[in-house]
């Protein structure tokens, strides 16, 4: 191990490799050596610079074991380390290994401690915007990384960034870069609608226009249709209002001809609208064409929806 730290005095713990075992792992020497020293340090509860260094090496090998994260955190607290440096370290680790999911929860723990140990008079204060560059690079390399988006939501909630300009600009950019990115649409819904019970009518109107423009641009996109029906649900508005909008994408007279159908989601929503208007026959006709032509893999489901109408 290339290191400035010396561990010669640490009693290395041997990992049990004796049979009988199931799924026995053929650990390599680096693993046995590093984890062996780590276990030795844990046994004597050593909180030191070299132990901090070793946790980094151990986490490179076994990121999924919570105890190592807990130990690292305990070392930081004992040594009274600069937690902003720890945040920088987290960024390096995240960028080097995108699949390291534990890092985001650990980062929350560090930030929570920074908040608990700093106040208005502190020289360094935590600014949630410091998180934006790292989140941006993570989402650039994987725009649908569920852990990173979840962390972003935690940040928004923790620091009340729902109406933050930079946050809203960010989500706009994500959507315009890829209007099929369902994670970005979910995040937008979260920003706009998750907090208040009574959302201003104006937000409803602007969001409706916003998403409808994107549906017009690309009509066969489940993310945008879900967003549109999602806001109707949230506001308790009647989807019957959307009949004319749906008809932009479907010519019912010529529905057998694919040249006159741009979206199966429009047909699906129209079928629901017709039910509300008690035009069950018209609705059944739409379920038939979904099953036979525009969404055949779900033909049994469309039959099931149809049967619900017939039995009523």
């Amino acid at each position: 191990m290339a290191t400035d730290y010396n561990f010669d005095d640490v009693e290395t713990v041997k990992i049990n490799e004796e049979t009988p075992q199931l799924c026995q792992i053929l650990y390599d020497d680096e693993y046995k050596h590093t984890i062996g020293i780590l276990l030795g340090l844990l046994q004597i509860r050593e909180y030191s610079e070299r132990a901090l260094y070793l946790t980094e090496k151990a986490l490179e090998l076994l990121a999924s074991h919570y105890t190592i994260w807990i130990y690292r955190y305990d070392i930081l607290v004992h040594l009274n380390k600069d937690l902003f440096e720890e945040l920088d370290w987290c960024e390096q680790v995240a960028l080097e290994n995108e699949k390291n999911y534990q890092i985001w929860n650990y980062r929350q723990l560090i930030i929570t401690r920074i908040l608990a140990t700093t106040d208005e008079s502190s020289k360094k204060k935590f600014d949630p915007h410091r998180e934006f560059p790292i989140l941006q690079s993570m989402l650039e390399s994987d725009p649908k990384n569920h852990h990173v988006w979840s962390y972003r939501m935690w940040l928004v909630k923790k620091f009340n960034l729902f109406k933050d300009d930079r946050e809203n600009e960010f989500v706009n950019k994500c959507i315009s870069a890829d209007l099929w990115n369902n994670s970005a649409w979910s995040h937008r819904f979260f920003l706009k609608f998750s907090q208040e019970k009574d959302i201003p009518e104006e937000t409803f109107a602007t969001e409706k226009v916003y998403v409808q423009d994107y549906i017009i641009e690309s009509p066969q996109n489940p993310s945008t249709w879900n967003y549109l029906t999602g806001i109707y649900k949230k506001y308790n508005k009647s989807i019957v209002d959307l009949e004319d909008f749906c008809l932009k994408f479907v010519d019912i007279e010529k529905i057998d001809d694919p040249n006159y159908v741009k979206s199966s989601f429009a047909i699906e929503l129209l079928a629901k609208i017709f039910v509300k208007q008690q035009k069950n026959e018209a609705s059944i006709q739409l379920y038939d064409i979904l099953g036979s032509k525009y969404d055949p893999i779900r033909s049994n489901y469309w039959d099931y929806e149809k049967k619900k109408l017939i039995s009523h």
């Binding site: 713990v13 990992i15 049990n16 009988p20 199931l22 799924c23 026995q24 792992i25 650990y27 390599d28 693993y31 276990l39 844990l42 046994q43 509860r45 090998l61 076994l62 990121a63 999924s64 074991h65 919570y66 105890t67 807990i70 130990y71 955190y73 305990d74 929350q108 569920h146 988006w149 979840s150 939501m153 099929w180 369902n182 994670s183 979910s186 995040h187 819904f189 979260f190 998750s194 066969q220 489940p222 993310s223 879900n226 029906t229 999602g230 694919p258 159908v261 741009k262 979206s263 199966s264 525009y294 969404d295 055949p296 893999i297 779900r298 033909s299 049994n300 489901y301 039959d303 099931y304």
Partner: protein, 396 residues
């Protein structure tokens, strides 16, 4: 759709047996998921009806699970994630998912754990992990840490952990004890409420509040409710619709494959979120969820297509096992969930045919006698044989 490929049972058996024997060093980063890897391999073999341990082997391997993973202290009983940490008692905390996988492994190894594990102490561990207040109230965290001689919760709560906790509670038979006997019970009504509040506008469930709907977490939410004996009603209609929409199809009338996430070879598979790639494991998370709400819901998706995707696209004809997608190598997780899916669809075949239009039930013609799996319990995701062992042998 061309002819269905043969289900390579002998190769799958060898695949799981290779994993049970030895894992190469590149898998050492999975050391803390070892109990899960054992579970995939043992129950995978069990579903194939090819787990042939002798009595001595069953005892030997059960002993290995107890010796290497069990933690018992004055307060609680749990299992650890990584066996090496048993040598550092100061930093050896139980882990919620390791505890479930250990129990599921003990069931298939036919070990009567009720004689070894105090159910109240296991439930004490669960109670210590349940979030008591705030927006995640009712949910669970994965592990504990020690602060000034006291245990504190560590880690992020989500629906996966809720499902795991409900499973463990069932395996401790707390759901069949009277309230006065349940001395360390968790708050099941807060848990139920937490899960129900995770249903999104789309009908799917999300890990924590307002996050994007995700099929893995949706299964966990539904599984958790089922294990708490929740009765599913019309409030799950949107969820059923969302689940059914997870099956991937790109009809030529509407798609031209100009989006990188839309792949023709994914047709018939299931995706975990809208506009994502199909993936073998979601065959289970989708159809398992549908079956948990009600088995006849399985007729709502196209299982012929789904079967084709598994057998012809992600089954590895050479090495055995199933991969995540056609470009990956087979692994125990995807192999187990592919086999679990096939077993589930076979188990409910009569109900599916009765309720659906699946008259064109394709079987491979080169395989006139379709392979018969063991049955599967869709809530605990274990073999029928293990479920029966639980019912007959585990008494508290």
């Amino acid at each position: 759709m061309s002819q269905l490929a043969t289900f390579e049972v002998d190769k799958h058996e060898k695949f799981f047996n290779r994993f049970l024997l030895l894992l190469p060093s590149k898998l050492q980063s999975e050391d803390s998921n070892r109990l899960a890897l054992i579970y995939f391999s043992l129950h995978g073999l069990g579903l194939l009806k090819r787990l042939n341990f002798s009595k001595e082997e069953l005892i030997k391997y059960s002993q290995f699970i107890y010796n290497d993973f069990l933690i018992e202290n004055e307060e609680f009983v749990a299992f650890r994630a990584t066996s090496a940490f048993k040598q550092t008692p100061e930093y050896d905390f139980g882990n919620l998912s390791a505890t479930l996988f250990a129990l599921l492994n003990l069931l298939i190894l036919e070990s009567d754990y009720s004689s070894k594990l105090n159910n109240h102490k296991v439930m004490k561990f669960l109670s210590m992990l349940q979030v008591k207040e705030g927006e995640h109230k009712g949910s669970f965290v994965p592990t504990l840490r020690e602060v000034n001689g006291k245990f504190e919760q560590y880690g992020e709560s989500d629906l996966r952990l809720c499902y795991i906790a409900a499973s463990i509670r069932h395996l401790m038979r707390y759901d069949s004890l009277s309230p006065s006997e349940r001395i360390n019970d968790i708050d099941t009504s807060a848990l139920t409420e937490f899960v129900l509040n995770r249903i999104n506008f789309s009908g799917g469930l999300s890990a924590i509040s307002d996050v994007e709907s995700h099929l893995g977490f949706t299964y966990c939410g539904i599984g958790c409710l089922r294990l708490l004996n929740y009765k599913f009603g019309p409030e799950f209609d949107d969820t059923i619709s969302w689940l059914v929409h997870r099956q991937v199809d790109y009809p030529a009338e509407l798609y031209n494959f100009d989006y990188e996430y839309h792949q023709e070879e994914d047709i018939g598979s299931f995706n975990g979120r809208d506009n994502k790639f199909g993936d073998t494991c979601y065959s289970w998370w989708c159809t398992g969820s549908l079956a948990l709400i009600e088995p006849k819901n399985l007729s709502l998706v196209d299982l012929d297509r789904a079967k084709y995707y598994l057998l012809n696209t992600t089954q590895n004809q050479l090495l055995g096992g199933f991969s995540k997608d056609p470009d990956s190598n087979p692994d125990p997780y995807h192999s187990f969930l592919a086999i679990a899916s096939l077993a589930l669809w076979q188990q409910y075949e009569d109900i599916i045919i009765e309720n659906g239009a699946t008259t064109r039930h394709a079987e491979s013609s080169s395989d006139p006698e379709p392979f018969k799996f063991d049955g599967i319990d869709e809530a605990l995701v274990i073999t029928k044989k293990s479920k029966e062992f639980f019912q007959h042998t585990i008494h508290y």
